[in-house]
């Protein structure tokens, strides 16, 4: 079993294809709730969420032993991650099938990326290359 990140993006603070009217929002929520129930029933759902926009982000870095904070996201970019699921899937075909369902339910394009490793590093160490 592998884990995949299914993510979607905002473009200039807008989520393309987001529901506009209250009716659209209603059916959007029904579709997503049904999809997440299906993910739960098949042991697919690991975690998921929708994020506030990049203007709520703060970057923290250490400079000369001082913790320095900067307002804003990592990179000036038109596109920022808006929401994601982490799912369990047997292989890429299974992950792509779920991504298709998410894209269909949310009306957003979905990027599928395999995790190199998940969980706590201490549990992973024996699996890392070069060890």
């Amino acid at each position: 079993m592998s884990q995949y990140l299914l993510s979607t993006y905002t473009v200039q603070d807008e989520v393309p294809g987001a529901p506009g009217t209250p009716e659209e929002m209603q059916t959007f929520m029904e579709r997503v709730i049904a999809l997440e129930a299906e993910m739960d029933a098949t042991g697919t759902f690991v975690f998921g969420g929708a994020l506030h926009g990049p203007d709520t982000a703060t970057v923290v870095r250490v400079s000369d032993a001082d913790v320095v904070m900067t307002d804003g996201p990592f990179a000036e970019s038109k596109e920022h991650i808006a929401g994601f699921y982490v799912i369990n899937a047997d292989d890429l075909d299974a992950a792509l099938a779920w991504a298709g369902k998410v894209a269909d339910a949310t009306n957003h394009p979905i990027e599928v990326r395999p995790f190199f490793a998940t969980g706590r590093l201490a549990d992973q160490v024996h699996e890392m290359p070069g060890t």
């Binding site: 592998s2 047997d90 292989d91 890429l92 075909d93 992950a95 792509l96 599928v112 990326r113 395999p114 190199f116 699996e127 290359p129 060890t131």
Partner: protein
Amino acid sequence: MTRIVATGGEATGVERVFREVYGQAVATLVRVFGDITLAEDAVQEAFVVASDRWRSDGIPPNPAGWIVTTARNRAIDDLRRSARGRELHEQLGATASRPNGTGAEHRSEDGPVSDDQLRLIFTCCHPALRTEHQVALTLRLLGGLSVDEVAHSFLVSESAMAKRLVRAKYKIRAAKIPYRVPARADLPERFRSVLSVVYLIYNTGLDDPERASLRREAIRLARALVELMPDEPEAAGLLALMLLSESRVPARTAGDALVLLRDQDRTRWDHTMIEEGHAIVRACIRRAQPGPFQLQAAIQAVHCDADSPEATDWPQIVALYDHLFSVMPTPVVALNRAIAIGEIEGPGAALSALDAIAADLDNYHLMHAARGTTLRRLGRRDAAMAAYERAAHLAATEADRRFLAQQIEELADDDDLHRPNGSTGPHNETSAR
């Protein structure tokens, strides 16, 4: 490192066998070990052993089985030596002992199975990989071309191609692109992408005489697909399409320039290939499950059936293009349909049909070449010249550019078409030929 490929002249028997069994052996090893790089390395090592032994002892009765057994033993030795290998080995042990496994592990560990190649071609042509990676992987892993040969086919350096292959194989491993024939629901679409990759390989070979071997490779791959998926009439359609196109290759060029279908010396066509292509098309018609490749093959079959351009059954060709356009409504199909209409209804009708789709194909050299030819037939010399010049500017291959340069030269010499009063406006359609 033993050099396997001869530096010139005919391939030796051993080299021919290598070429033939490479794809099968890699596919089988991928099934057993689940890792392309490991499979390739092991098969390469087995070839090194074989090139030594076979030259003195002769080629064994089952060379593919010999290579697979040797490669498999090498791979297991290599696996035992590395940490990643130990891990893979454990996983394999787990798969093999699982009672409800796929069954493949128990069937034939040592002999190549054709299903292995089918699984691997679906992996190589997976839509999650970009087309150029699909093509490179297919030629390398199934065609058995060396990295250098694949690089040469795509006019890139060996190191750039090696990098491309490494990246594609990395994605297959990291994202877990499966080695599997897709589920029935996804099969038609996935199979189409496999056929498109093979056809792209063929057309790359057609565009450039330097890369002619790609055409042979594509036809070989299509034959393998027909064998692997006998219930897919589109595979047969693709094979017929390529055979019928290939049959005309001897007449397709004169010197370095292209010769249009209507000007080709039809006695130079390869009639053995035409017969095979026709037989496949007839079998496809009997199956009555038409698809884009079968329809394109049927169109080529009608062309190849005629002793002269005039004897061509143009209404039949237009009908087939109509059918093709209904399942594959692309501007290029519309372009070919317009040209066929011109053969029946004359250049005026062809020009109207071409102008209707011109905007969609403004960057396609054949659109402008077709307009050039049609305008020339209508006697609109200046407009024809402009169209040919635009076509020549857009043409991608040397042969196309030479053909268009020749048209421009001929047009400049067309004395009977010289403008009567100093200006040939776009609506001056006099002296049509």
